[in-house]
Symmetry: C2
Subunit: 204 residues, 2 copies
């Protein structure tokens, strides 16, 4: 299956601004993108990158300067056949989780993220369009229902964890095994267990 | 399978102190416990409650005043045969997720929670003991490895989401369908979508 990986090359990972400067955020975002592309390939699917700016990347690239929702809708309206949409910050995703996403039935398959988000989709209904603003998971269920499309939900912590904020870095240190985890370790991040709760600290 | 549900009846859900008073926290914790017990039963397993204080509950009850780790170890050392351990605040758990946990192979089956925690376990190795302090997920992997026990990890957002903090209430409002979600709605909580991010607000 063709799996589109939307990537914000212009201002990536702004919510990590308290722990990474702008150049670091770009490098870290690129390492997560590389992990996602590798995972999609290992799952047996064909990743393409949908970026808002030209980037050097080891995959077919579409540049679309519009916001996420119209850019993804542009892909969907130009596609025939199923399309996967997997966010570029799902650095914990495993090939197994991607196979669960892409392998089963459903006109629309959705892997929700925390906070009502939509971290991954498979779209097999030609009229389905996305709406990533706000509680997009609920919106996507509603859009599918209005179309009479069948929906399957993927219950996956690895697809459900988008790496957006400082606390998410702990998830990557605990569960990750790719380039982006290595990047964090090289940048001096390590787990910090205080009062029985786990966060991250940066030591250099 | 016997599934032990540890429950803190003495000081439940202290990290929700910014949005719920002590009596509300007790009531909300009890409603989540009821949801977990119902889900375990619906999955075809037999829940028992392990509480640090006597509680009225619709399941066999063991009272053990010790902290979580020695109390659970007490259950494990007194058990023959497999034991599941499912936390009482997994209000998003579904029967399907519990069947994935309890139904497959593995001397030790672990469903990690956010922040390196361990939200659910199945123990089929007679020498395995728990350590819930700190990054317990990593500790449990190490303990299993030291025993030569086989480990299976469950990739589930529903088992991975323990309801501890204000932000977790949004997860329950978005994805829940049981008594505890009803309790939250009755208490005046609703989703709050501001700047495209989803939280909760309380309106009465």
């Amino acid at each position: 299956m063709r799996v589109v990986v939307p990537f914000d090359a212009v201002r990536p990972k702004t919510r990590l601004g308290d722990v990474l400067d702008a150049e670091e955020r770009r490098a870290f975002a690129r390492s997560m993108l590389a992990d996602v592309l590798a995972t999609v390939r290992e799952a047996g699917h064909e990743p393409t990158v949908l970026s808002n700016e030209r980037v050097e990347v080891d995959a077919p690239l579409t540049v679309d300067e519009r916001p996420l929702t119209p850019a993804v809708d542009g892909v969907l309206s130009a596609s025939s056949g199923p399309v996967g949409i997997v966010m570029a910050d799902l650095a914990l995703a495993t090939p197994r989780a991607v196979r669960r996403l892409c392998g089963g039935p459903g006109d629309v398959v959705v892997a929700p993220g925390r906070g009502g988000g939509t971290n991954a989709l498979v779209v097999r209904h030609s009229d389905f369009r996305v709406d990533y603003h706000g509680a997009s998971y609920l919106d996507h269920l509603r859009i599918a229902r209005d179309l009479g499309a069948t929906v399957r939900e993927i219950d996956s912590a690895r697809l459900g964890t988008d790496v957006d904020e400082r606390a998410d870095l702990a998830e990557l240190l605990v569960h990750g095994d790719g380039e982006s985890r290595d990047w964090l370790v090289d940048a001096g991040f390590e787990l910090d267990v205080t009062d029985g709760r786990v966060g991250v600290e940066r030591t250099d």
